[in-house]
């Protein structure tokens, strides 16, 4: 395959669909992480929350199918989704209780939660299906793909909504796009959003004006669990239709990095998550060009690190420029008012 052919494939709707597909879980998790980060709670446990949601999504849908065999697959999937989200939020609650009530170190507790999720999912998977690798032996149900004919009929960009095969995108892909806007509105237009940002900036100031800091941090952590959970169930009920041990494969950590790469803004974070998605699609598809995937996989983390350094460099340069400029005006002023001098 030549490079020209390769880039031709990049400019297709299906490639766009691939990016959306790969970015969706990270967009969800990064938005969740952003909410708790802005509330002053760095969430290292996104990975674990995604993983546990992915697992319980599958198990929940399987369980629903066994309890109400005559119901529809969509119903099974919805039960699964609810179970997955519930599990992720429960895990978030554990983190919140340990951090907010027991004064646990946030980062280490987050790592603990990740280990808990990794252990618990495999442990339960083995106990339920006798299989440690994946849930392929269980019949599980995916949330559906939605064809949005109205959008698809728009000329030029309509193709973007066609999905990989004209059937539109997975329902959670749309949900992720929607979530970007919703999270922005939440953070900047609602009372809770204002308070949440205020709590992150100066909890003491909030406490003194009667803003229930702890309660808002609970809400922020639970919301981040919910969003990470959406990312998780997308992995096992959309991206794939099965649970695989450690199937999050570091996406939660990338989501965390996306928050910093996106300079803690909603659109920046979502953009960074999309970039990570793009990188992973490249990694899968560049194989055709004989570019080692290891190289491609390194690009996203490398860009993140360089971006962090560039931010710092720009900040320092701007400060230096500001100081220099102020010094010039100061000296100019001194010349005008010789009185100020000795």
């Amino acid at each position: 395959m030549t490079i020209v052919e390769f880039f031709q494939t990049l400019l297709t709707a299906s490639f766009f669909a691939a990016i959306l597909r790969a970015a969706t879980p990270m967009v969800f998790a990064a938005l969740g992480g952003l909410i708790s980060e802005l509330a002053g709670v760095i969430n290292v446990a996104l990975e674990g929350m995604m993983l546990i949601a992915a697992f319980f999504g599958v198990v929940g849908s399987t369980w629903a199918a066994s309890v109400w065999p005559e119901a529809s697959p969509l119903f099974f999937a919805l039960v699964g989704a609810a179970a997955g989200l519930g599990a992720a939020m429960l895990l978030a609650l554990v983190l919140a209780v340990f951090y907010l009530e027991f004064d646990a170190n946030l980062i280490i507790a987050g790592v603990g939660i990740n280990i808990l999720a990794a252990g618990l999912t495999v442990f339960l998977l083995f106990s339920i299906s006798g299989d440690k690798g994946s849930s392929a032996g269980l019949t599980s149900f995916a949330l559906p793909t939605l064809p949005l004919r109205l959008l698809q009929d728009i000329p030029v960009i309509g193709g973007l909504f066609a999905g990989a095969n004209g059937n539109g995108h997975h329902v959670l892909v749309y949900a992720a796009l929607l979530a970007i806007g919703l999270v922005w509105v939440f953070l900047h237009k609602t009372r809770l959003g204002l308070r949440l940002r205020a709590v992150g900036e100066n909890p003491d100031a909030c406490r003194t004006v009667g803003v229930p800091v702890k309660r808002i941090q609970y809400v922020a952590i639970l919301l981040s669990g919910f969003l990470a959970g959406l990312g998780g169930i997308y992995l096992s009920m959309g991206y794939l239709t099965l649970f695989q041990a450690n199937m999050t494969a570091g996406r939660g950590f990338l989501a965390l990095a996306a928050i910093f790469l996106g300079a803690r803004s909603v659109f920046g974070t979502a953009g960074a998550a999309a970039f990570f998605g793009l990188a992973s699609v490249f990694a899968a598809q560049l194989g055709l060009l004989d570019v080692p995937t290891a190289v491609v996989f390194s690009v996203a983390p490398l860009v993140t690190i360089l971006a962090l350094l560039a931010f710092a460099w720009r900040r320092q340069r701007r400060t230096r420029a500001q100081v220099a400029a102020e010094l010039i005006t100061l000296n100019a002023r001194r010349k005008d008012t010789p009185d100020a001098q000795a």
Binding site: I42, V44, V94, F98, E101, F102, D103, A104, N105, L106, I107, I108, A109, V111, G112, I113, N114, I115, L116, A118, G119, L120, V122, F123, F126, S127, K132, G250, F253, L256, A257, F260, P292, A294, V295, F297, S298, A300, P301, L302, T304, I305, L308, L309, F311, A312, W313
Partner: protein, 366 residues
């Protein structure tokens, strides 16, 4: 955020608290086993005595030891754990949340492999050289995020996690393309030269002189922290960097150094795995050991003197879990659950008072 740099309360109090937490964690594990297993006594037996060798007397009167390998696994594992534990504990003392032990370990192993495969030298030179290469690689990969933190304020959690990905991918790239053994039938480097491979001290195990190195390194770390100016700076900066700066301490250098020293210890762990255990490097070298290091560091309250006992305890638990999985119906991952519980309980500064408060409230409500 509560401090993890350690030092609050007396050592004895901390040790007692840690022991209580371990017991609670194990009890919760036992309860899970009771629910899930049909042979709980066998499970407990496997976990508690599994890693120990057993002796049996043969007909001709000679004593035959079985299970030395299990015992060896326990020791080998404990060495690795002690080193990655140290790799986490040293930056923690400087209040740096380095999660980069994984990447540092990968590069340490890789550096050691390059020396061990390609340099035609006698063992007496080769092994120290490989060790040094691993240490330097780990040191450098730890120093990098340290400098980025100190100079640019780059969040070390993010940078170390990202550097882990880069290190692991670089490792895979090297093994797959540059160092591949085409005869092997799978993606792996050639075996190291015999001269580079550490000799086992116990038959049928990979317990090598690293068993002496690990405690020695812990001791050196302890002496470094308590007896040297740099160690003193590291502790002060960890507890109160603003104070360190006002006292004229090189705060930036100390932050970078703490992470680099952690990296050096992780590099040693990489050397141990490469030259004592695997003797060649496969592309699927195990990731995630860095996180195990966090457990060890926490159990040891970041005190190098306690790293070894903590590593032995945790290594024993892990070896027991392996035996448990092999001989019973409970999977090894149960230990991960117990481990997570221990982590959560141990970092909870306020657990007992708050629980007491809740119980008290419950009573008064009634």
């Amino acid at each position: 955020m509560s401090s993890i740099a350690g030092g609050q309360g007396s050592v004895l109090q901390e040790v007692i608290k840690t022991l209580v937490v371990i017991v609670i964690g194990l009890l919760i594990g036992m309860v899970i086993v009771l629910f899930i297993s049909e042979e709980p006594t066998k499970v407990f037996d496997a976990i508690l005595t599994g890693p120990l060798p057993s002796a049996s007397t043969l007909d001709d009167g000679t004593v035959r030891w079985r299970g030395m390998t299990r015992f060896g696994t326990f020791l080998e594992d404990s060495i690795t754990l002690a080193l990655v534990g140290l790799a986490v504990a040293i930056p923690f003392r400087a209040q740096q949340f380095s999660l980069g032990a994984d990447g540092q370990m990968f590069l340490g192993a890789l550096a050691s492999a390059v020396v061990s495969i390609y340099l035609p030298l006698p063992g007496i030179v080769l092994i120290p050289l490989a060790f040094l290469a691993a240490v330097i690689a780990g040191f450098a990969w730890g120093w990098l995020p340290g400098v980025m933190k100190a100079r640019a304020g780059a969040n070390e959690i993010v940078t170390t996690l990202m550097l882990n990905v880069i290190a692991i991918q670089f490792f895979i790239y090297c093994v797959t393309f540059l160092m591949l053994d085409r005869q092997a039938g799978f993606i792996v480097t050639p075996f190291f030269q015999d001269a580079a491979i550490l000799n086992p001290l116990i038959h049928r195990t990979n317990v090598t002189w690293m068993i002496a190195v690990a405690p020695l390194v812990c001791l050196l770390a302890y002496l470094f922290l308590s007896r040297t100016n740099m160690g003193y700076e590291l502790r002060v900066v960890g507890q109160n960097p603003a104070f360190g700066r006002r006292m004229g301490m090189p705060v930036d250098r100390t932050v970078a150094l703490s992470m680099a020293l952690g990296g050096a210890a992780a590099g040693m762990a990489g050397f141990h795995i490469a030259n004592a255990i695997l003797k060649r490097l496969p592309s699927d070298f195990p990731a995630g050991l860095g996180f195990e290091g966090i457990v060890v560091a926490l159990l040891a309250r970041n005190d190098p003197r306690l790293i070894l006992p903590a590593a032995l305890f945790y290594g024993y638990l892990r070896a027991g879990a392996q035996v448990m999985e092999r001989t019973t119906d409970v999977s090894r991952e149960m230990v991960l659950v117990v481990q997570a519980i221990i982590i959560l309980l141990i970092v909870s500064e306020n657990l007992l008072p708050r629980l007491g408060q809740w119980i008290g409230l419950g009573r008064s409500a009634r």
